[in-house]
Symmetry: C2
Subunit: 159 residues, 2 copies
């Protein structure tokens, strides 16, 4: 489907639509198109929006999820984000999944599944490890087709 | 052994002695005493020294290893640290182990083993995962007793 024809489904949660906007901004900036939004549902507040900045910062850890967690904890002045939810367009990698556990997020909603690099439903399945001390609720496949389409388009253009 | 009696073994590599200094500085600052040093052996250069700053920054991702990688990649203007080695006083957690793989470090020398939170020789054993695309050489147990003693002392004081 060409980008202009995409319409988010009416059932798409607003934070995932915002995460998709972040992912599109990442693609425009030449970054792998993954976006994340952190919300505090109890206050109805968006705590952070972020997209990949690996290329811009020359930082291999500058994934959308890590940047969102760092921005939100800095803004709140707390090292944990108890009760907060993350929306991210791609299944988190093992680095980001572990950071999500450290931050004690309540829920993770993600878009596309990532068999090659994911760490939640694939690879080390971080939240199932006995040494993982906090297990968020995980809901995968939210707006999956559009999240995956953005990534496919980005990598196809670069081949 | 009381701290004053500790003498690093003459065989201790200089970067691990520096990582231990970082860990001691962390303890003095009320941070979990873990220190890290990143070196470029080809140039004989120390690229970064860091210790945990989770409490100071309210950042659950501010582990010594992640901070050292971010500092070194920023300083070099490259998102990878090919050929570089990390010395860290504690077995890296799964977050830091994944970041080490992303940065394509050559070797990881670590001090104390961490059965409860480690991600290299314990838990998800990140570098053994089929979805891990770079596997550094790993040498554990360097100055293990002093690295572990610092951590034990820190947590005993807080009980």
């Amino acid at each position: 489907m060409p980008p202009s024809e995409y319409q988010p489904s009416s059932a798409a949660p607003a934070p995932m639509r915002q995460a998709l906007e972040q992912a599109r901004a990442a693609a425009c900036a030449g970054e792998v198109p993954v976006g994340a939004v952190l919300i505090d549902p109890a206050r109805g507040a968006v705590l952070a929006r972020a997209h990949n900045l690996v290329e811009a910062l020359n930082d291999p850890t500058a994934h959308a999820e890590l940047l969102a967690i760092r921005a939100a904890t800095a803004a709140r002045g707390e090292k944990r984000l108890v009760g907060c939810d993350l929306y991210v367009t791609l299944e988190p990698c093992p680095m980001c999944a572990t950071a999500i556990a450290f931050a004690q997020l309540r829920r993770v909603y993600f878009g596309a599944y990532d068999p090659k690099g994911g760490g939640v439903d694939h690879g080390p399945r971080i939240f199932t490890q006995p040494t993982c001390h906090h297990r968020p609720e995980v809901i995968g496949g939210i707006e999956e087709s559009e999240c995956a389409r953005l990534l496919r388009g980005f990598f196809q253009e670069r081949r």
